[in-house]
């Protein structure tokens, strides 16, 4: 390998060129077009007559922040991510510990069972869950009734609709994260557990001081990926509630979909997309900062 650095550099560019070209055409260009769209009022009228498009500057954004429907959607999405995210991570960690435990038999079977919801079509799942949540005939209320809890109108009560969606999402998604956690658990050397046991660490202490630190990178990955996914909440309310009752399950992406593809107000829809993007990036960065400072504290 005695080629001159400049030539090597040029060759390198040629190797990444196809990937860069694809990124430019299918990612950078659409994003720039979307950004341009978000400062216009491109809509149905403009499809027929491009002259009916106006440059509106930041008005789409200003209108968005003034729109109670958008604020509701942001609130709903934050609620969903803030409650559903940790629940999903906790459920997947618990499931991973269970299927990874030494005493458990048929590990592959349990892994498959827990993973099944993740690969099931959501629309089919939604139909079944709509029946489970039915106030009169639903299995959930039947079970609650058995322990004396009065029936809840899960999808019809604005207070309960989002928790119902969260429960469905946790059930649907924990299997995927569980697999990642299982991989993380298997990467923790067994000697650490043996050493801890020899030092007299109880199971809880082993979990707290060996498992959790060993899983830290995995957890960060799972939390970030789950959160980004959850901020794009769409299919669950789309199939279960259409955003109702009283807009209590309208998410940002559901609103975006309605603006863009039902009402064809593309300028508004593009603005929503960029606000969502900013939101997700901010939170992902915040999470990294929190994680890093926590690691420094524990190292100190």
């Amino acid at each position: 390998m005695t080629a001159r650095p400049a030539a090597t550099g040029r060759a390198g560019w040629w190797f990444v060129a196809p990937a860069l070209a694809l990124l430019a055409v299918f990612f950078v260009l659409p994003v720039l077009a979307g950004l341009a769209l978000s400062v216009t009022d491109f809509d149905l009228y403009a499809v027929a007559d491009p002259g009916a498009t106006r440059l509106v500057g930041l008005r789409n954004y200003a209108r968005l922040f003034a729109d109670p429907a958008f604020r509701t959607a942001v609130r709903n999405t934050l609620y969903f991510a803030a409650v559903g995210g940790p629940l999903t991570v906790a459920a997947s960690l618990g499931a991973a510990l269970l299927v990874n435990a030494r005493l458990v038999r048929w590990k592959a079977f349990w892994r498959t069972v827990f993973f099944t919801p993740f690969v099931t079509t959501l629309v089919a799942v939604a139909i079944v869950w709509r029946y489970l949540y039915h106030p009169r005939y639903g299995l959930v209320n039947y079970a609650l009734g058995a322990v004396g809890v009065p029936p809840v109108d899960w999808l019809g009560d604005p207070r309960w609709a989002m928790p119902a969606i969260i429960l469905l999402a946790v059930w649907k998604n924990f299997g995927y994260n569980m697999l990642i956690f299982v991989a993380g658990l298997q990467a923790i050397p067994a000697e650490l557990y043996e050493a801890a046991a020899l030092d007299g660490a109880a199971p809880w202490q082993r979990f707290r001081h060996v498992t959790l630190p060993g899983l830290a990178p995995t957890t960060l990955f799972v939390v970030v990926v789950t959160m980004i996914g959850y901020f794009q909440l769409f299919a669950e309310p789309f199939a279960m509630t259409q955003g109702g009752p009283l807009e209590s399950t309208t998410s940002v992406v559901l609103l975006l979909y309605a603006e863009g593809f039902r009402f064809w107000r593309m300028g508004n829809a593009a603005a929503i997309a960029f606000v969502l993007f900013a939101l997700v990036v901010t939170l992902a960065l915040l999470q990294r900062v929190v994680q890093r400072s926590a690691r420094q504290r524990s190292a100190a």
Binding site: A48, D49, A52, D153, F263
Partner: protein, 472 residues
């Protein structure tokens, strides 16, 4: 022009790239390698269908299946012509059609929900049909229900021919009504409220007299437009929901929920309407003709004719109105047949054939046949008797109702306005807002939605130029 790569006068049969004719053409291309240009012409002609033409026809939902025999009849009557029928799911149709317009991939003929017509007319995607109508021997405006025809007219021009119609009215449990002591079908709002109060006394516990799903915009819009006041004002550029007449209708409708006469539920929460209706948990339901078949099939106890009590247990009635039967109007629903225009649609012969196809589906005989195939209500009144619908006691009230329709504002923004109306109703019905606050918020939202329309109208007035609001 690549799309219309047809070579006029050539006798090469039309074919798809993968069928035998295309293989022949490729083989021919190989043999004639020396005369490459000729082969290219041949291949081009093969890939892009010339005459005898093929029509693309998109039909929606179950109509896409039930129209198939009629499509075959048309092909038989026009030898050499092929109609490619594509059935599009109704729930995805609006998005798919819009995308087709933007992507220049529209069919020649399509079924279009009639509330979408202003929108597609504003997109300039539809051919105005008035010149063809003036010459047509088959389609005459006078043969159709005026309210249904009116939904196809935007800014004075006709963009669609009604194919089938539907409208909503009240389905009710006639046996429960009799037990509740209601002698005849209510005609005014006051009588209707009274009937609901009486019904509640004879219903099983946990039931409610009326099912008016909060996620459907048709029931509240029927009531609001019965008020007689326009729902939009200033040339359809501002909301008119605080008009005293509209407010009164809104307050009456919301009152049904507040008084417990209708439960605040969405239709997705009712797992099986026919079953709930059969069990008497709902005794009245404002819905459309598609439920006639559903109820006959699924309502418990009505199935085995041997055990059936004297007569069916349910009936339909025209909408009651604020002041009596004459004010009991409803909305014109249903679908129309439209011709698309724009890129790919400028072969006059093919468009003439497309119109022939629309005329074929609009004859009295075809309308009657389609009604039997689909159970849809014919758009032509003279097809009701041959279809056997006129004498059916559960369908006859639809005929009455179809003669009492009020038009909705025909603006492309209507779909999103209607959604806002359901939100306002839901807020007021659940009591999270007062009637006046909900209507003020609704007017503000509608004014905001219509801002673009105000700007376009102002621009048009300033320029005194041809309108941009309609397809010109």
């Amino acid at each position: 022009m690549a799309r219309r790569g047809a070579v006029p006068g050539t006798a090469i049969p039309r074919c798809a790239p993968d069928d035998a004719c295309a293989r022949d053409a490729r083989r021919a291309g190989g043999r004639l390698r020396a005369v490459a240009r000729a082969a290219l012409v041949l291949l081009a002609a093969c890939a892009r269908p010339p005459a005898p033409p093929t029509l693309d026809f998109w039909a929606l939902g179950t109509e896409g299946e039930s129209v198939a025999p009629l499509v075959r009849d048309f092909e038989r009557a026009h030898p050499g012509v092929r109609v490619r029928l594509q059935a599009v799911a109704f729930s995805a149709a609006h998005e798919k059609l819009l995308t087709a317009v933007v992507g220049d991939a529209t069919p020649d003929v399509a079924q279009l929900g009639n509330t979408w017509i202003p929108e597609f007319a504003a997109l300039r995607a539809l051919e105005p049909l008035d010149p063809r109508l003036a010459r047509s021997a088959v389609v005459h405006r006078a043969d159709y229900f005026p309210g249904a025809w009116a939904t196809n007219v935007v800014d004075g021009r006709t963009f669609g021919i009604p194919w089938y119609v539907d409208t909503r009215l009240v389905f009710y449990r006639s046996d429960l009504m009799a037990r509740a002591g209601v002698a005849r079908a209510p005609e005014s709002w006051a009588e209707w409220t009274d009937a609901m109060r009486r019904l509640r006394r004879v219903q099983p516990a946990g039931g409610a007299p009326a099912l008016l799903p909060l996620n459907e915009f048709e029931p509240p819009l029927i009531i609001l437009s019965q008020s007689g006041a326009p729902l939009l004002r200033d040339h359809d550029t501002r909301g008119n929901f605080r008009d005293p007449r509209v407010r009164a209708a809104f307050a009456w409708y919301v009152g049904l929920f507040r008084d417990g006469l209708a439960p605040p539920v969405a239709s997705t929460q009712v797992s099986n309407v026919a079953q709930e209706f059969g069990a008497g948990r709902y005794a009245m339901y404002v819905t459309g003709p598609w439920n006639v078949g559903e109820f006959r099939r699924w309502m418990p106890d009505t199935l085995p004719p041997a055990r059936r009590p004297a007569g069916p247990r349910w009936a339909t009635m025209a909408m009651p109105g604020p002041t009596g039967a004459a004010s009991g109007t409803s909305l014109a629903g249903g679908s129309s047949l439209v011709l698309f225009r724009g890129p790919g649609h400028d072969d006059p012969a093919r468009r003439a054939l497309a119109w022939q196809f629309v005329e074929f589906l609009s004859t009295t005989a075809a309308q009657a046949r389609f009604a039997q195939l689909s159970s849809d209500l014919p758009a032509r009144a003279d097809a009701w008797a041959p279809a056997g619908f006129g004498a059916d006691p559960q369908l006859a009230p639809f005929l009455t109702q179809l003669r009492r329709l009020t038009p909705l504002p025909s603006v492309p923004e209507w779909e999103s306005i209607a959604t806002r109306v359901t939100h306002a109703v839901e807020r007021a019905a659940r009591g999270t807002m007062t009637v006046d606050a909900a209507l003020a918020a609704l007017d503000a939202e509608v004014d905001d939605i219509l801002e673009k329309r105000r700007w376009l109208l102002a621009r048009r007035a300033a320029a005194a130029a041809p309108t941009h609001l309609s397809a010109r």
